[in-house]
């Protein structure tokens, strides 16, 4: 690296092709240290993962691979538990993503409207996101607890049933887990929306007010359209993050009760590391990737189509 650098030194503008090659070599040298871990621990696993999906590999000391063609996938078609988990995963993902956006939008608008207590809310809003997911899960287990949990105590004090085992109940477990997901993910969304809100020129709101637009009309005519690009990108990212999130549900319920919170990521994990069917689990993983990509493609397409249609107005 020293030699080319010396060659470059005398006159900067001379000998362009050589200089360009030098710069390229320099650039590769600077990038290489991060390229190696990425290739070995990020790109290679993706490739191996796709390969595994077409084998019957099992998790043993010396895995015996045999090529299995699409056997894993045909087997998957009949696996009702997997499709159940996909359905649960969709409720979890869409539920958290939508509620998160709605709650964050509300909070961002409140923070943007010049209330007091902004500092407190802003600090508070970052804490859930910063905390280790395990700690979040432990904390919410205490909140939801059927013996002496504060949630039941509050419900009891207003005359509602106060003996619900939130995380252990067949019908309440999934909604209860979704609330925790919203609690964790809301801050980040709020912060991003708030930054977006602050970029909307005040004149737009003033002009709308002059035209006699009320708060709701101003929101639909000015705020929402201006935020659209940001909303689209955070919704996409949140969707992916929520679909792929593992730790929270794993610690809160481990998929229980009776598989009612068995999100797909958890299902694949158990298939791989408890049932030790890694070829089969890899096939599931691959199907999940395709599902997410497909949903996102449809969503983003619809967003762009709206944009194009919106131009005419």
């Amino acid at each position: 690296m020293t030699a080319p650098a010396l060659k470059e030194r005398p006159v900067r503008t001379k000998a362009k092709p050589t200089r360009q090659r030098t710069r390229r070599r320099e650039a590769i040298g600077l990038v290489l240290p991060s390229l190696i871990p990425i290739l070995v621990l990020s790109v290679a696993p993706i490739v191996v993962g796709i390969f595994l999906a077409f084998t019957d590999a099992r998790l043993v000391r010396h895995p015996d691979y045999a090529f299995a063609g699409i056997d894993n996938f045909t087997k998957l078609v009949d696996n009702d538990l997997f499709w159940d988990s996909l359905r649960i995963g969709m409720i979890w993902t869409v539920g958290v993503t939508v509620l998160q956006l709605a709650a964050a939008m509300g909070l961002a608008l409140l923070l943007d409207s010049g209330l007091r207590l902004q500092g407190l809310t802003r600090v508070l809003a970052l804490v859930p996101w910063a905390m280790p997911p395990v700690v979040v899960a432990i904390m919410w287990q205490m909140i939801y607890s059927a013996n002496g949990g504060p949630l039941n105590a509050v419900l009891g004090s207003v005359g509602l049933p106060d003996d619900i085992n939130w995380l252990g109940d067949f019908s309440f477990a999934l909604p209860a887990v979704i609330v925790v997901g919203v609690w964790v993910g809301m801050p980040q969304t709020t912060v991003t929306l708030l930054a977006g809100l602050q970029q909307i020129p005040a004149e737009l709101h003033e002009a709308a007010s002059m035209d006699g637009a009320g708060a709701w009309r101003r929101f639909t005519a000015v705020t929402w359209p201006s935020l659209r690009p940001i909303v689209t990108s955070i919704t996409s990212l949140n969707f992916i993050w929520n679909f792929n999130s593992f730790s929270l549900v794993y610690v809160l319920t481990a998929g229980g009760p009776g598989g009612k919170t068995m999100v797909p990521v958890l299902f694949v994990y158990l298939e791989a590391f408890k049932n030790r069917e890694i070829g089969y689990a890899a096939a599931m993983g691959l199907v999940l990737v395709l599902v997410v990509v497909l949903i996102l493609a449809v969503y983003l397409r619809s967003q762009f189509r709206d944009d194009r249609a919106g131009k005419g107005r």
Partner: protein, 275 residues
């Protein structure tokens, strides 16, 4: 009607604050309650008397201090490693145009959306082949790799903010590229490096999934894994010490995040909007 807007807004804000803050308050309160009070049927937000011994008991719990040590080692090592290799790469990413940059940015975005669940099996097999599964060094490398995208993204933003003219001026004066980097770029990059390092530390300190899959011997457990053990089955510690342990585990992250608050906002903005 108009007069009702502000009160309604404050009521809504109070609800949010309650929703965000109450669980935290409850955890902290549980961490100083006596076991008698925690198990009693009368529920109160504040402890009737403060019991700090939950904290000493939590620290006494077998494995908690050792796993906190493991977490600290892994987080410090992976942060140092990530920053060390991300700074030069981020520099290239920010300064160069063309295919290399497109590939780099593209990979950063894809890596954000790729489900770990497909990666985790082969990753486990690769690390096992390398003799690095159930090993803190292996976990460190994994954390380094998976904090790189965000580190690169943050850092290249900081590099882009440094006027390229400063470097050109240095080059005119006859300084070599490395000298320019060392004397001009790095000092200006320092705040960005600190912010990136703090963020990386927190993500490693909090990380659960990789540690759960890769670590099998209890002496290698990181703090989140040990805490999870206490929740389920065998450990089943008393609630008070568990809450105390959870509070202790959350402190470093919360401290770093409150320092980082402003910087993260802009970093996230860039990521979200341009993403």
């Amino acid at each position: 009607m108009r007069g009702l807007v502000r009160p309604a807004q404050y009521a809504a804000l109070a609800l949010y604050i309650l929703f965000l803050g109450f669980p935290l308050l409850w955890l902290m309160s549980a961490s100083v309650k006596s076991s008698g009070e925690l198990n009693s049927l009368t529920v109160s937000l504040l402890p009737s008397e403060w019991h700090w011994e939950n904290y000493t008991e939590a620290l006494d719990k077998q494995g908690l201090i050792r796993s906190a040590g493991n977490s600290l080692v892994v987080a410090l090592a992976s942060t140092a490693l990530a920053v060390l290799i991300a700074v030069p790469a981020a520099y290239v990413l920010a300064r160069l145009r063309g295919k290399l940059r497109v590939a780099g940015v593209g990979w950063i975005l894809v890596s954000q959306v790729f489900p770990v669940v497909l990666i985790i099996l082969p990753l486990f097999l690769i690390l096992r082949t390398l003799g690095l599964a159930d090993n803190l060094a292996g976990l460190t490398l994994v954390h380094t790799t998976y904090m790189l995208p965000f580190a690169l993204w943050m850092l290249q933003g900081y590099v882009a903010a440094i006027p390229v003219e400063l470097e050109e001026a240095g080059a005119m004066d006859g300084a070599s590229r490395l000298t320019v980097l060392r004397t001009i770029v790095f000092p200006l990059l320092a705040p960005g490096v600190v912010a990136t390092a703090m963020f990386s530390f927190v993500s490693s300190w909090n990380e659960f999934f990789f540690a759960l899959v890769l670590l099998q011997s209890p002496e290698n457990y990181t703090l989140p894994i040990t805490l999870n053990m206490f929740v389920g089955g065998e450990g089943k510690v008393a609630l008070g010490p568990l809450a105390a342990g959870a509070v202790l585990a959350a402190i470093p992250s919360i401290v770093f995040f409150s320092i980082l608050r402003r910087k993260l906002t802009s970093g996230l903005m860039a990521g979200a909007v341009k993403g």
